[in-house]
């Protein structure tokens, strides 16, 4: 029955190789994630390259956005960040609000906000000129990107599948971040590699 196995294996390989990746607005899922270096809230520099070897989550945020509040006040994102830390996944919070716009904060305030919200991201990156945000085509807060240990973008989109600002919807929602982690952990294909992001628009400089 070796032949049968061989056929089955070839078929599985063939079938999956046809499910290929996309060529749209940057960045592209299944392609290397664009490299960036940003200023962190503690005053240092963080480059994406330095995180190679670990799964990385990029989370665009704006503490005053009602959608962000939904996920922080309910404890949803803080819990995800804690779980990330325990799984050795680097969670990077990115704030792309321009000076004078909603959600723009300095490093000290950003850290203080996280402390009061029980949030524990591994890094906070201040992107007030919006360069990293635009590089990634980030549109909403929250907007999530997951990059695997090899530096390949494996997920981009919403945090879950119920686009509301209501906390009571969290229980019913399918959390795409967890789903992606599970798939990465067992080496499976990410079930929903690209989903609709939802939330407030990012307050880029005009």
């Amino acid at each position: 029955m070796q032949l049968k196995q061989l056929i089955a294996t070839s078929l599985v390989t063939a079938a999956f190789s046809f499910i290929s990746t996309s060529v749209f607005a940057d960045p592209v899922v299944d392609q290397p994630a664009p490299a960036f270096t940003g200023t962190t809230a503690v005053g240092g520099k963080l480059s994406l390259d330095s995180l190679r070897g670990k799964t990385v989550v990029l989370e665009w945020t704006n503490n005053e956005c009602p959608f962000v509040k939904k996920h922080y006040e309910s404890g949803n994102i803080p819990q995800l960040q804690k779980d990330a830390a325990s799984k050795d996944i680097s969670w990077v919070q990115i704030i792309s609000s321009a000076p004078g716009k909603q959600g723009h904060v300095d490093g000290a305030t950003a850290l203080k906000l996280n402390e009061t919200r029980g949030a524990k991201p591994a890094y906070v990156v201040l992107d007030e000129d919006g360069k990293i945000g635009k590089l990634y085509g980030a549109q909403t807060t929250p907007h999530i990107y997951v990059i695997d240990a090899k530096g390949v973008l494996v997920y981009k989109g919403g945090i879950d599948n119920i686009p509301t600002a209501k906390k009571e919807d969290l229980a019913k929602a399918n959390n795409y971040v967890r789903e992606t982690w599970v798939a990465l952990a067992v080496g499976k294909k990410v079930p929903h590699p690209s989903t609709k992001p939802y939330g407030c628009s990012i307050k880029y400089p005009t």
Binding site: F24, L113, A165, H192, K196, I202
Partner: protein
């Protein structure tokens, strides 16, 4: 509860308090937030039982703020209305007036500013009693944004007395607001005599939406923009560059994150701002063009095409190779193997022939196979040219073909059992060839092998044939010939390699016994074909087929028992045999044709107990629109691998349980008979035949996942994401 340090805490506190004010206590038709005044309006002051009228939510928005359309664009949330009525009544979805777009840096949103009325149609319950009040309550949720966004909810209530139709009066204010909104509904594109339609074509870097001039009687178009209904189909934030020429207007669109497949429709509204004289008019046209991939972009191996089409994009050489391997594997299929082993064994008994003669046997056999495959390819090309929707295995969609193959299998079985023997050569070709090594016999063995091989689609064949069917005629024929050559190859090698056939066991009684044993797979194949026929033509078809087999058995007995009688008696017996066979075929032909095809869906009739539902395009579309996960199985009663997969994988309790747990709807489509709609879907996935297994994960616009043609429970389980 939280102690957040806000830079502008007063402002935030103010917004936070106001944004979560539920206006429920007001029980009024009006409610306000600092940004929006909402009002529930009606087209009439009273209502009539069983009649239809309009309600609307009128939103007055402060300057620079906006609410959202059905597709909010890159960010934002669609406005929703949850209706409750004192008497259960039917209410339509929101009739969305055409939106505007708002650009905030790199983000584009679709929505409304200043004021908008969102109308619905309501059909009052027919048992609403005169004199009572009809009470409508609307819980309206919206997100209002300037740059910052605030989710808000209000509850609006309106009481309208139920009256007789003679006493109904217009609500002037409500009617005016609703009419104004209805006037801004998207319309169908006006078509002129020679219906020119909007079309959508794939380009190297996106899509081109072409609107013929006759569709728009425009003097001066100020602005034209396409608003898609669904997320991800186009990149919403990228400018839709327009080109105007004599033919019309072309908008360049870019793919979004959930791009269209070929033949998938792009649904949305085309909004045109025209200057007619001094007035600026704005119109919306509902369009639904299918994505057409031009010939020049097909078969192109750039990753761009692959991704959009998802079709297996095999190179020609790969396809030839796959066809060859597929052909070789066909030799092992249960219906082909007995025929060929008998043929191979005959080499043993033909030791008196020279090596040269034996080689010629092999070559003639190969020619027989190749001739049959060319004929099939020619038939396919002719049918394709005729515009028929066909795919591999299409022959089996004809009950006549099925019954003919069933008879053939049965006859071969009878011959193997020794009920009759055809002396040296195929009947009817005369005795002159009989003492030669049976070249005609070899040729027809090749033909027979091809016929019996067709129901068995070897896995490698599927990919190659799927590719072949999309290719021009010459390539198609070459792929078919390669497949045929693969089928002929093992026997050809055997004849060409004397060392090999000397290794075959010595002749003896065991050959006779093996032959007799091989009769049984043939009978089983006939039984299976009769079962297929039962799906296609019902109980009558089965009766005809079994009756026909009795006649064939009788003819076989008559033929054999008169072999050694006088020439005259034998000649008349042979006439009788021929008459019997012809009448069998004729009766089958006339009768089968008149059997109604209504009952053919029986193979795929879902019942409450089943874990699957019958496929229909509408059902699939509905499930996908709801973002529900779907497992799609296209099968046919005559497809053996389909039936095996269903048995060993799809009907396994753990697979059924996994479907249930993840609320996956299992849709089964039956291709036993012709079905152009299913053929269309197969084509979309680059297939020409069944089986096809596709999993659509949950969520709208998510790319479907194709499964291999050989399933195991673990392949299926690994494809379905575990729910978290």
């Amino acid at each position: 509860m939280q102690r957040v340090v806000y830079r502008n805490w007063l402002n935030v506190l103010f917004l936070a308090v106001l944004s979560y004010v539920p206006a429920a206590w007001s029980a009024s038709h009006q409610a306000s937030t600092p940004q929006v005044q909402a009002e529930l309006v009606s087209s009439t002051k009273q209502v009539v039982a069983g009649e239809t009228f309009n309600l609307g939510i009128h939103l007055k928005i402060i300057p620079h703020w906006h609410t959202y359309w059905r597709n909010p664009g890159d960010s934002g949330i669609v406005t929703t209305i949850d209706w409750q009525f004192s008497k259960p009544s039917q209410v339509s979805d929101i009739l969305w007036p055409i939106p505007s777009r708002f650009k905030l840096g790199p983000i584009v949103n679709y929505g409304y500013e200043n004021a908008v009325t969102l109308p619905v149609k309501v059909k009052i319950a027919s048992d609403a009693k005169l004199g009572e009040d009809f009470k409508a309550t609307a819980i309206v949720d919206w997100l209002v944004c300037k740059e910052e966004c605030i989710p808000q909810q209000v509850t609006l209530t309106l009481k309208l007395p139920v009256v007789a139709s003679a006493n109904i009066a217009k609500d002037v204010r409500g009617q005016t607001l609703i009419d104004k909104s209805l006037a801004k509904q998207p319309q169908e594109i006006p078509s002129e005599a020679n219906l020119k339609q909007v079309n959508l074509e794939k380009t190297n870097d996106g899509m081109a939406l072409h609107i013929p001039h006759s569709s728009l009687s425009s003097e001066e178009i100020q602005d034209i923009w396409f608003y898609p209904y669904n997320w991800g189909k186009i990149a919403q934030s990228i400018d839709q560059t327009k080109t105007i020429n004599a033919d019309g207007i072309t908008l360049a669109l870019k793919h979004g994150d959930a791009p269209l497949n070929p033949n998938e429709s792009l649904e949305g509204v085309l909004v045109v701002k025209e200057k007619r004289g001094d007035t600026l008019t704005e119109r919306g046209y509902f369009i639904l063009p299918k994505l057409v991939v031009p010939q020049s972009l097909r078969g192109n191996s750039t990753s761009d095409i692959k991704l959009v089409s998802q079709a297996p994009d095999l190179g020609f050489v790969t396809a030839l190779l796959l066809a060859l391997i597929g052909g070789v594997i066909l030799n092992l299929m249960p219906c082909v193997f007995p025929v060929l082993s008998i043929k191979a064994l005959s080499l043993v008994s033909h030791t008196q022939y020279s090596q040269r003669e034996i080689l010629w046997q092999g070559i003639v056999y190969t020619l027989g196979v190749l001739a049959s495959f060319s004929l099939l390819a020619g038939l396919l090309i002719a049918l394709k040219a005729g515009g028929a929707q066909i795919g591999w295995g299409f022959q089996f969609q004809s009950p006549l073909f099925v019954i003919a193959v069933a008879y053939l299998m049965f006859a071969v079985g009878l011959s193997l059992s020794g009920v009759f023997t055809i002396s040296g050569s195929v009947a009817g070709l005369g005795g002159t060839l009989a003492d030669k090594p049976g070249y005609a016999g070899s040729f027809f063995t090749g033909v027979l092998a091809t016929i019996v091989a067709t129901p068995c689609t070897a896995p490698f064949m599927a990919a190659a044939l799927g590719y072949a069917l999309t290719q021009p005629a010459l390539k198609l024929i070459l792929i078919f010939l390669s497949l045929g050559f693969g089928l002929a190859l093992p026997y050809l090698l055997l004849t060409a390699w004397p060392a090999l056939h000397r290794k075959l066991p010595r002749p003896g009684l065991w050959m006779e016994r093996t032959k007799q044993v091989f009769a049984f797979p043939m009978y089983l194949a006939a039984v299976w074909l009769v079962w297929v026929l039962a799906q296609q033509s019902g109980a009558n078809g089965v009766a005809i087929a079994l009756g026909g087999m009795v006649l064939i058995a009788f003819a076989a007995w008559l033929y054999d028992s008169t072999q050694y009688v006088s020439f005259k008696a034998r000649a008349s017996a042979n006439v009788g045999v021929a008459a019997l066979l012809i009448s069998t075929l004729f009766i089958s032909y006339t009768y089968l044709d008149s059997v109604p095809v209504e009952s053919t869906r029986s193979a795929v009739k879902s019942s409450v107990n089943n874990h699957w539902e019958a496929y229909s395009p509408e059902r699939l579309e509905q499930l996908l629109a709801e973002g529900k996960p779907v497992f799609l199985n296209f099968t046919a009663a005559w497809c053996i691998s389909c039936l095996v997969n269903e048995r060993v994988a799809l009907s396994q309790p753990k697979v059924i349980a996994a479907f249930k747990k993840n609320s996956v709807t299992y849709l089964k489509g039956d291709w036993t008979n012709k079905d152009a709609q299913i053929t269309d879907v197969l084509t979309t996935f680059g297939r020409s035949g069944v089986p096809l297994y596709v999993f659509y994960p949950a969520g709208r616009g998510v790319k479907p996942i194709e499964l291999p043609q050989i399933l195991t429970p673990s392949i299926v389980l690994n494809t379905i994401p575990s729910s978290h």
